[in-house]
């Protein structure tokens, strides 16, 4: 049905498009600004007034960051926790999700409750820290992996997906004498690939982005993740900018290669975001389906 545009409809178009343009600017511009600061000369940035384009090009910050062995090592640790943590989390979370599709399981309600309860109530930071210490997880790489072996929230999402699969899928396998583990691995997992991809993506991004575990539970530099190193850089900057501003400016200008320099900090920001931006266009539809699962089923 084609309807003629009235004046009010035109006004509507204009308003909607302008609001969307503003939204685009609000979300895109901060990234752009970070980018131009990262490639602008640090002492020029200190003068202020940088807005749309870099004034004095200076890409040396990228050289500094990409040669910094501490930074590169932290990137390696972050990559490692994504690579190890994601499959482990997926396997154990989906296994639990499968078991909890079996309502005939003796103790089903009890088991489900003890997991769901942890979404409502937890020990909090301090007792958790104490327990981790007792378990020897402090200053241990596995502190990145073990606490996220299972995510109850994602378990519920996978569980509701598996619960909606037709029962006939499993029945024929049971008749052939397969046990539950075989049915799970050979039949349920392969047909759950769409949801596993979505959840896996979220788990991987959480692993890449989390900084607090690294900040709190590790003190050895060789275990620090990229985000923890970034936090360190941010803290140095904050300390520098809190001291008398003139002195800080002079100081920052003097040590252009120091980590408190804006361009180094922004370069680190860009470098740590690039992996996400690179995979982002390809996986966007999974992100969208991710939030819908949470909203519809939750």
């Amino acid at each position: 049905m084609k309807i003629k545009q009235t004046a009010s409809d035109w006004a509507m178009d204009i308003i909607c498009v302008s609001v969307m343009v503003i939204l685009f600017i609000i979300t895109f511009y901060p990234f752009w600004y970070v980018f131009i600061v990262s490639i602008n000369d640090p002492s020029d940035t200190m003068r202020g007034g940088l807005t749309l384009l870099p004034r004095v090009f200076n890409g040396s910050a990228y050289g500094v960051i990409l040669k910094d062995s501490e930074f590169l090592h932290s990137m390696f640790i972050s990559a490692l926790r994504v690579i190890i943590g994601t499959p482990i989390s997926l396997i154990f979370t989906s296994m639990l999700a499968y078991v909890l599709t079996k309502k005939e399981l003796v103790g089903y309600k009890f088991f489900r409750k003890i997991f769901v309860f942890t979404m409502y109530f937890g020990g909090g930071i301090i007792p958790t820290y104490m327990i981790y210490k007792m378990l020897g997880l402090i200053d241990n790489f596995w502190v990145y992996i073990i606490p996220s072996v299972i995510s109850v929230y994602y378990m519920i999402l996978i569980n509701s997906y598996m619960g909606s699969l037709p029962k006939e899928l499993e029945e024929s396998a049971y008749i052939d004498g397969a046990n539950d583990i075989v049915v799970f691995a050979r039949i349920i997992l392969p047909v759950s690939v769409p949801i596993m991809a979505t959840i896996g993506l979220f788990v991987a991004i959480n692993q890449w982005n989390s900084f607090f575990d690294s900040y709190l539970y590790t003190s050895r530099q060789e275990l620090k993740t990229l985000q923890a190193v970034m936090m360190n850089i941010l803290n140095q900057y904050k300390t520098a900018s809190l001291t008398d501003s003139a002195a800080a400016a002079a100081n920052a200008a003097k040590q252009n290669t120091g980590t408190s320099s804006d361009s180094i900090r922004m370069t680190a920001t860009i470098v740590s975001t690039i992996p996400i931006i690179l995979v982002y266009p390809f996986v966007q539809r999974y992100f969208v389906s991710g939030i819908m699962m949470g909203a519809v089923k939750g």
Binding site: I3, S8, D9, M12, D13, V17, V19, M20, L23, F24, T27, P30, V34, V37, M46, G48, G49, L50, F92, M95, V99, E104, V106, F111, I114, F115, F121, G122, G123, G124, I125, I126, P127, T128, M130, I131, I150, N179, D180, I181, N209, F211, F212, M230, M231, I233, L234, Y237, S241, L242, T269, S272, I276, Y280, Q284, F287, V288, I291, M292, G298
Partner: protein, 322 residues
């Protein structure tokens, strides 16, 4: 529909003795075992560890639970101390509630407006680009967001530059040295991070609206603006109410990472929300029992709020928390 299928499946009475049934299910128990061990160590042991909120816990080198029994039981001393004696309770609650409320005020309407406007956009390409870009902040870490905000708001940063250029201010504002800006910065950062992504919820609710309603309104000569205000927006009412209820239920979750990253000593009085306060005393100042007590206080109130909220939102069906 799904509920009916489930109900009929439950009616089938299981056969055989308990032992026989459990033996038949042994493979399921094998698969359940790792998860049970995990939840015991990672969730229930810390919960049991909350007992330290009631003792005068001093680490004495012995294992955690063993040193429990060597410490004095002090009952509600620490919670009392937090509520009445420390003098911090008012400040902490003020920061927590102010940050949460400001966040709600910004972050509830923003995705609704975005969804309503996106829905009216007919240029597919443009719409796609805007959507893609607006989801991005949701997927980057708080460290990166904090870095971006600190830079945008720095003295020589772009916000100050622009405000000075158009004559709004004469000299740069030091946003991170004056506590009065802090709650706003957190609320805006929270909104910036989530608004694009959260608009998906509303957009999908809009797709569920019956097209016949729009067609009927066109017969009556409704303009697109009228359709948006009188049809689309009211159809989102349930979703909006649920989001609002959930936000109110999580009101004590005023954030932790944001404040930890963006705070500094000069504005700490405005940054200390309840989680950060618990962390600061419990870990940084090594007052373990006090920190745990503050955490426990927050967990209990949050738990009660969540149960209430979950029960209310169940009435709106389809999208309760669990």
């Amino acid at each position: 529909m799904k509920k009916m299928v489930r109900a009929s499946a439950e009616k089938v009475r299981p056969r055989g003795s308990l032992k026989a049934r459990m033996y038949k299910q042994r493979y399921l128990y094998i698969m359940l075992l790792p998860a049970l061990i995990w939840v015991l160590f990672m969730c229930y042991m810390p919960m049991f560890g909350l007992y330290m909120a009631f003792i005068d816990y001093v680490p004495d080198g012995t294992p955690f639970f063993q040193s429990f029994f060597g410490s004095d039981f002090v009952g509600l001393k620490w919670i009392n101390y937090f509520l009445f004696e420390s003098g911090d309770f008012y400040k902490v609650m003020r920061n927590t509630l102010a940050t949460s409320l400001l966040t709600i005020i910004f972050s509830i309407p923003a995705p609704i407006i975005i969804a309503l406007m996106l829905n009216e956009i007919r240029m597919r390409r443009f719409k796609k680009v805007v959507q893609t870009v607006s989801y991005l902040p949701y997927f980057i870490s708080w460290v990166v967001v904090a870095n971006i905000f600190v830079t945008l708001l720095s003295q020589e940063g772009v916000i100050n530059s622009i405000c000075m250029k158009i004559g709004l201010i004469d000299e740069p504002i030091r946003y991170f040295q004056n506590g009065k800006y802090f709650w706003w910065i957190i609320a805006i950062a929270n909104t910036w991070k989530g608004m694009g992504y959260n608009s998906i919820i509303y957009l999908s609710a809009i797709t569920g609206i019956d097209n016949a309603i729009y067609e009927a309104s066109m017969v009556d000569g409704a303009t697109r603006f009228q359709k948006m205000i009188y049809i689309t927006l009211p159809s989102l009412k349930d979703t909006i109410v649920i989001m609002l209820i959930l936000a109110v239920g999580g009101i004590l979750n005023a954030g932790f990472e944001q404040q930890l990253l963006l705070q500094n000593t000069q504005i700490l009085d405005y940054a200390l929300v309840i989680d950060l306060y618990s962390y600061k005393f419990g870990i940084q100042e090594a007052m373990y029992s006090y920190g745990a007590a503050v955490g426990l206080f927050k967990s209990i109130i949050s738990f009660i709020l969540l149960v209430i909220v979950n029960n209310i939102s169940r009435k709106f069906d389809s999208a309760h928390i669990m």
